[in-house]
């Protein structure tokens, strides 16, 4: 393994967050295939909130 600190894998606390974000992204895209209008509408509402 590299001794360079910048080359360590993400800290244990960060890993669940990365996995959660990845799972949400995958679920949203999967939903986009099965129900495209619903996901586009949800994205529109989310966009209007921010």
């Amino acid at each position: 393994m590299s001794a360079d600190p910048s080359h360590r894998r993400p800290a244990p606390l960060l890993r669940p967050l990365i996995w959660l974000a990845a799972a949400v992204a995958l679920a949203l895209v999967f939903g986009w295939y099965l129900s495209p209008h619903f996901i586009v509408e949800m994205a529109g509402r989310f966009w209007s909130c921010i």
């Binding site: 910048s6 080359h7 992204a25 895209v29 986009w32 295939y33």
Partner: protein, 411 residues
């Protein structure tokens, strides 16, 4: 090991590499959606569009080793910028031309070159040079999974764009997205000193080989040739299933929604399978992983054609094949790096990928030809199954360790 200190931080390298591959692989994966609107708008046949796509795949594969050589020599930064500009130019050309020859030149040649400049082989060269061997397979898995995610994401996104703003403005939008590859390339910019120092010495403790000698060595390397032959099968199977599965399901009177669900499942499990293959490559022998992937593809296809075709059997097949889809990418490239070093990884990885692209071309073309000749896909399914087990057998005897010849090279 005399490995030079990496200059690129891991997070920056993986994030930028992943985003670049997400864009380049994702845009490319959505091209099927433009078949109908473009052929309708210009009064072309489907064959006219297919010719451009076939040229694109072959140019991508054929340019790979040359572009890889350039990336190994000068670093990925300039190559990625060229890829971004060519991608944007090609997409604008696709959107604006109404003549067939310019369409083949833009969609086929220009975008094929752009893909060679912006996909796995170029990114893996940077990853290989800037990460320890112990982490390499995992890092390649992350990058490949990002490419899989791009493919998964871009199909519904492109479909929404086409329906929302029209096919031509949708292509212009994608051309602007492709330009983002340029700024992202700054995250993969290596220092000249590190680039020159990395590669050969870090792996072999021998004087580094020149590109010609490395190519000669690879082509005379039994295990490299076995790996290349196995990758041909990967391309054959994916292209056949990706292009012809929807028609196969339609021929068996299944609802079009079944094909959509199958596409979604392939995309979802592709991301998971690709990451898993990369991570497992850190713990297990990568050639065993490759053998397992090819053998499981054979088993999945055999079960699929042997059992009655139902929405459930299609979903199970799609999920299984999805998990095995691009999962060959990280172990294959990691084995190349392990066998032959990372100094010429983009060029040698590009050459292996050329074999994949010839397989893709054969998978699409031969399936269509055999379907026309026999009236069904049965022969092609059996061919794909036999090739799967052959590829599994080809990968088993591959030795991942460095060859003695590499250790005695003199300056």
């Amino acid at each position: 090991m005399n490995q030079p200190r990496p200059t690129l931080p891991l997070g920056q390298m993986l994030l930028c590499g992943a985003l670049i591959v997400t864009l380049s692989m994702g845009i490319r994966h959505s091209f099927g959606l433009w078949l109908q609107p473009i052929t309708l708008a210009h009064g072309w046949s489907r064959e006219d569009y297919s010719v451009a796509m076939a040229v694109q795949n072959l140019v991508w594969g054929a340019a790979g080793p040359l572009v890889g050589w350039w990336a190994d020599r000068s670093g990925a930064f300039r190559v990625l910028w060229l890829g971004a500009l060519l991608y944007a130019l090609g997409l604008v050309g696709m959107a604006t031309t109404s003549q067939h020859l310019p369409f083949v030149l833009t969609c086929g040649v220009v975008i094929g070159l752009a893909q060679a400049c912006s996909t796995y082989a170029v990114i893996y060269g940077v990853v290989g040079r800037n990460i320890s061997a112990a982490q390499r397979s995992w890092a390649m898995g992350i990058t490949a999974a990002a490419g899989s995610f791009g493919q998964f994401l871009m199909v519904p996104l492109a479909s929404t764009l086409i329906h929302g703003i029209g096919w031509s403005p949708a292509l212009i939008s994608l051309s602007m997205a492709a330009l983002l590859i340029g700024p992202l390339a700054f995250g993969l910019r290596e220092s000249a000193r590190h680039h020159a120092a990395s590669g050969g010495p870090s792996v072999t403790d021998a004087a580094p080989l020149g590109a010609g000698a490395a190519l000669k060595e690879a082509l005379g390397h039994r295990d490299y040739l076995l790996l290349t032959a196995g990758y041909f099968v990967c391309g054959f199977q994916l292209a056949f299933i990706g292009v012809h599965l929807p028609s196969y399901l339609k021929d068996h009177q299944l609802d079009p929604g079944v094909a959509t669900t199958a596409l979604a499942l392939i995309g979802l499990f592709n991301v998971l399978g690709t990451y898993a293959a990369g991570s497992l490559g850190q713990r297990l022998r990568k050639t065993w992983i490759l053998s397992f992937i090819y053998a499981m593809r054979g088993v999945a296809m055999l079960a699929f054609i042997a059992m009655p075709l139902t929405p459930i059997s299609v979903a199970v097949f799609a999920a299984t094949m999805g998990a095995l889809w691009l999962s060959t990418v990280p172990p294959t490239n990691a084995v190349v790096a392990q066998m032959l070093g990372v100094r010429h990884l983009s060029m040698l990885g590009g050459l292996v990928f050329f074999s994949h692209q010839i397989g893709s071309f054969m998978g699409v073309w031969l399936a269509g030809r055999l379907y026309d000749a026999t009236g069904s896909y049965q022969v092609v399914w059996w061919l794909a199954i036999v090739l799967a087990f052959a590829a599994a057998a080809l990968n088993l005897p591959i030795r991942e360790h460095l060859q003695p010849a590499r250790r005695v090279v003199t300056a």
